[in-house]
Every structure is written in C-alpha cells, then in structure tokens.
C-alpha cells in the first residue's frame, strides 16, 4: 500500500510540475488549440443574449460536501461564477448563484463580493443564496427560485444526484437554457437526458478554461491531457503484466 501511496504522490507532483510548465510555456507562445465543446460555445452566446435581454444568469453550484472529492466540482463552479460575475456585473441584473451546502454558499457570496470589488460596484449578499441544505430540499429551493425569477440561462455546475432532473425540468418549463455538468455518475446520466447542453464527466472541469477564467485553467487541461495518456499507458502495461503474472 505504501508503494501505491508513493506512486500517488509522484502522480500529483508530476501533475503540479506539468501545470506550472504548461503555464510558463504557453505564456511565451501560443498553445495548442482546444477541441470544441458545443455546450460552452452555446453558453457564451447564451450569456450574451441574457445580458442583452436583461434576464438573469443562474449558476447552481450543487451540494457537494467540502471535505470530499465532490468539493472540486464546486470550485470549478465558483471559478465560472467569478468569470461570469466579472463580465456581467455591470448589467442590470448580475448573476445569482444557488448552493445546497453551507460553506459553498458562503464561498459563492465571497466570490460575488470579490467580483463586485474588482468592478467597483456594490455587492449584494442575495446573489449567493443557499436554497436548501439536503439534496432534495436544495433541488426544491432551486426549482422555486427558477420559477420565480426571470432567468435567461441556467448553469448547473456542481455536485448533483438524480434530483437535478427537477431543476432542469423547471428550467425547461420556464424556457431558459440549461447547461449542466456534474461529477456524480447518476447526476450525469440524468443531465445527459434532461439538460439542453449536457457536459460529460471531465468536460465539466474544463469549464474555466473554455470560458477564459485564467491561464492556469488552460495549463491544467494540458497537464490532464498528458497524464491521461500516461494513465492509459500504465493501465495497459499493468494489464499485460498481470496477464503474464509478472505483477
């Protein structure tokens, strides 16, 4: 088990090194192009349309526990919230974030406040709402929020289970666009069928890079791409070694 732990640490350190290297290299010259993810392309258009039409953008951050791997998707949601808040805060109706976990709610308020400070405008704590504290009550609260507000586009980037179908259904009834991505397998299956623009698995984590949240987001995608093949190589080699009982 110890050797596996060391292997894990090496993996993380290599990841770290690759991210730094990619950010340094691509600061000096243009990096490779990213493949197109249609959902993000349409999202950018939807953001523009929503700002023009004076309707709200709603970012749902999910209910991921902060002390588990589910927190990571929450952070991705927060960086997207930050990016959007900085670009649309000047409009009449800045984006509103809903979350289903106490600490995520506080972080969403902090993120909005940072964005407001950056733009030099007043921040409103009501833009980071906690709509429920258990999965289904969170879905219920977000459903009511969508029904009551005039929302142009809903971004569901966070940890959701099957209850997310209630949110996407409410958004569809209201006629708003829904883009959804989560880390939870059942949540992904539901989003695949119900969201207008579903994101699959790792695609959700690339949201920051595709929406221009910072160079480190793009750098981390390159690191992911390299380590993906390293991982594939390790699995294939390991399988072959297992087959011949070497390992």
């Amino acid at each position: 088990m110890d050797s596996l732990n060391i292997l894990g640490l090496i993996f993380v350190l290599v990841f770290f090194g690759l991210m730094i290297a990619a950010s340094v290299v691509f600061r000096q010259r243009e990096g490779r192009k990213l493949r197109e993810i249609p959902a993000f392309t349409r999202l950018q258009r939807a953001i523009g349309l929503a700002v023009e039409a004076g309707s709200r953008l709603h970012i749902s951050l999910g209910r991921g526990q902060l002390l588990s791997p589910q927190s990571a998707i929450g952070y991705v949601g927060l960086s997207i919230l930050d990016r959007i808040a900085r670009s649309t805060s000047i409009s009449d109706r800045p984006p509103v974030a809903t979350s289903g976990e106490g600490s995520l709610g506080i972080l969403s308020q902090d993120t909005q406040q940072n964005a407001a400070k950056y733009l030099g405008v007043e921040s409103d704590p009501m833009r980071g709402r906690i709509t429920g504290l258990t999965p289904y009550s969170y879905a219920a609260g977000t459903l009511s929020f969508i029904q009551e507000e005039d929302i142009g586009a809903n971004l569901l980037i966070g940890s959701f289970g099957n209850e997310v179908a209630l949110i996407t259904d409410a958004a569809e009834r209201k006629g708003g666009m829904t883009l959804g991505g989560t880390d939870n397998l059942t949540g992904q299956a539901v989003l695949f069928a119900t969201a207008q623009e579903p994101l699959i698995g790792e695609e959700t984590y690339a949201g920051g890079a595709y929406l221009g949240a910072g160079p480190m987001h793009i750098a981390s995608l390159y690191a992911q791409d390299i380590l993906r093949w390293v991982l594939i190589g390790l699995i294939v080699i390991g399988a072959i070694l297992k087959l011949f009982s070497v390992l």
Binding site: K33, S71, I106, L133, L231, A239
Partner: protein
Amino acid sequence: MNLADWIGAFVGFVLTLLVFSYLIGDNPLFRITLHMFIGVSAGFAAVVTIYNIILPRLFVPIFISDRSEQILTLFPLILAGLLFTKISPRFAFIGNLPMSYLVGVSAAAAIGGAVTGTLIPQALASMNLFAVQSNQAFDANVGLRLVNGIIILIGTVATLAYFQFGKLSQASEKTQFQTWIDGLGQIGQVFIAITFGFLFAGIFSAALTALIGRVLFSVDFISDVLGLFIR
C-alpha cells in the same frame, strides 16, 4: 391507528396530492409545500448537526476533557466563532480566515480522496481483470473473462481518450494520429451512452418505486377512510 397516526396519514396524503399537482402545472400550493419541505429538512439537518458534531466535539470537550484536549478544542472553537461573522455583511471579512483554512484543507482532501479513492483503485481494478492465471487457474470461463476484460479495457481507454481536450496537431487538416484518436473517442462515446442508459433505467426504477410507494400510501389511506364510513 391512533389519532396521531390518523392525522399524520391525512397530512401525508394532502402533501402528496399537493406535490403531485405539479404534474398538472406549477401552482402556489405546490410552492408553499416545497418551502415547508425546505424548512423542515433544514431544521432536521441543523438539529442532527448540533447533536452529533457541535455539542460532542466543540462544547463537551471544553467541560469534561483534560487540559491539553481543552486547548486543542479552543482552536476550532475560535475558528467557528470567526466563521459566524459571515452572517453579517459588515463583519464578513473576519470570516475569511476560517474560510481560507477550510478551502485549503478541502482542496487537499479532494486531491487525496481522488487519488487514493478513485484513481488508484479504478486503475488497479482495470488491471486486475487480467489476473486470470493466478486466481482462476481452474476456471473454465477464463477465455470469456479475458474477452470481457479486453472489452472493459478498451472501453475504459476509449472513454478516457474521448475527453482529450487539446488538438494534437496545429494544422487545420487532421493528421492520421488525430483521426485515430478521434475514432477512439467515438468508441468511448458509445460506452458512455451505454453507461448512462443503464444508470438512467436504474434511476427511473428508483423513482418509480417512490411513486408506487406514494400511490400505495394514498390508496390505503382512502380505503381506510372509506372503511371507517362504511363501517
């Protein structure tokens, strides 16, 4: 059934109908029910948290533990106190300290959890499919297991390849390698669709069972009430 159960069954029946009214369309009664639900579930979550964490971990050690444990408990007590300033927008900045602490710990926990809880076990599981000789030396179905193992391996690799973000060549024309990777990604998509389809059917089964549960409850309640009057 005693009176409390009768009242409870009636309340449950009415609430079930109110929620089902959403199937006809959104309505104010449905929203009131939802809000009540949010309140009740938040109330339970708060009480269980107080009973299970705040009291035994934050306050009890202060009174009944030894000195060193008391001092150790002071840190989270102070951090929790600072965090409570987040309630007021004016003093919210004081709460940034515990929040940055929490974010640091949680990011590390996420990485640690992903590596030790998913990355290593899932990769090992993919490799172990091929450990046929050591464990199943006398298994007649070794061939079949191998074929299944190869399919799982291809599926896993193809699904991972599907997520490739960067284009492999700068040129506008696709290189052969890029075409090959794209093809692998397409295979990966099929595996993803199968997984989602399976999960979707499972989720539906779970939701259907919940629906059946509510319908059974309502039918039983109605028949009980009718039974009362007919008797």
